[in-house]
């Protein structure tokens, strides 16, 4: 499993495509068989936010104050103005600015 696979990038893309198709179509295939219990439904509902948290929090810890302040700014601006462009632009400007100062 440690050898480099020829055409590995294409193999990885194919594997990702297969995994994604499985999730898109399984709701259609499943419905006759398994029913979604309230617990499974709650787990699937908590999943997108959990993916985001699992991605973002380690980056905060690893990249330190500039990244953390940029993230807090984006969160606050989104709650305040609900404007993705404004929030992202300010967040990136804060990160770049603080990194230039440090």
């Amino acid at each position: 499993m440690t050898d480099v696979v020829p055409y590995g990038a294409l193999a990885a893309i194919a594997a990702m495509s297969f995994a994604t198709l499985l999730t898109r179509l399984s709701g259609h295939w499943m419905m006759g068989g398994i029913t979604l219990t309230p617990r499974i439904r709650r787990m699937l509902e908590a999943l997108p936010g959990s993916v985001v948290a699992a991605l973002v929090v380690p980056v905060m810890v690893k990249e330190g104050l500039p990244a953390t302040l940029a993230m807090i700014a984006v969160g606050a601006l989104m709650i305040w103005r609900r404007n993705e462009f404004l929030a992202l632009a300010c967040g990136i400007a804060i990160a770049a600015g603080l990194r230039a100062l440090y």
């Binding site: 594997a15 495509s17 499943m30 948290a53 973002v56 980056v59 967040g91 990136i92």
Partner: protein
């Protein structure tokens, strides 16, 4: 005539299909397209930094077509692709996209009775944005499966070329960290998540996900922290009852 209209299992009218429905679905997504273009270009730029060729970047966008999982795969990606890395990439893609099981299942009462040639293309092109729009359309009594297909197709048509543009410009950028470009992904995710923060039960699940991810990040080498953190959050969210 109207009293004899066939009804689907959710009590709303049985599925139909028309070109007008495809157009209506495409039209409703127009306000979302600038966001799609920016997000796709950011992915393309990141893919270029990670060593993907233009062909590989466009191919991934065309056949995976699930933005968040594409970004997550870039966190793990390496030009020296081993069997275990391919497995990890496929697994993280599966975990990140598991929410689409719920999304496609929720459409079943509406589209389940439609012919396969309408169901499969519509589900293959389904993303978060057009699922929300189509769910709203169905609640308002809509029955045209073309609406689901058209709203998905228009996003795909903008998503794929925009990643190509991002890849070309991203490969010209020599020091992405200096301009904060390496933070686009986490910042974008925060922007998506922040407006929904008030729900207490989910915030607890997300906090568990974040804390677990940090712990795994430092204790376990590699990229397992995303998968372990996300699954922990999902389990906590499932164990906590409805508030």
């Amino acid at each position: 005539m109207t009293s004899m209209q066939p009804v689907a299992s959710d009590g709303a009218p049985a599925p139909t299909w028309s070109f007008a429905g495809v157009l209506a679905g495409a039209r409703v997504m127009i306000p979302a397209l600038p966001g799609v273009v920016v997000f796709a270009a950011a992915f393309g730029a990141l893919a270029a930094q990670k060593g993907l060729t233009l062909f590989e970047t466009v191919l991934m966008s065309a056949v995976v077509f699930a933005g968040v999982s594409q970004f997550v795969s870039m966190e793990i990606w390496s030009p020296a692709m081993t069997g275990s890395l391919i497995f990890a990439i496929a697994l993280s893609t599966l975990v990140v996209n598991l929410r689409m099981v719920l999304m496609s299942a929720s459409l079943q009462p509406w589209i389940g009775g439609a012919p396969a040639w309408q169901i499969y293309p519509s589900l293959v092109l389904m993303t978060d944005g057009n699922w929300v729009a189509s769910t709203r359309y169905r609640k308002e009594g809509g029955a045209d499966v073309g609406y689901l297909f058209g709203s998905g197709l228009v996003i795909w048509l903008f998503w794929v070329p925009s990643t190509a543009i991002g890849q070309i410009f991203g490969s010209l950028l020599t020091d992405p960290k200096r301009f904060g470009v390496d933070l686009i992904v986490p910042l974008y995710f925060i922007a998506l998540l922040a407006p929904t923060l008030e729900m207490s039960r989910r915030s607890l699940a997300w906090i568990s996900a974040g804390v677990t991810a940090v712990a795994v990040f430092y204790l376990v080498p590699g990229h397992w922290y995303v998968i372990v953190g996300a699954l922990t959050g999902a389990v906590v969210g499932g164990l906590l009852g409805d508030d």
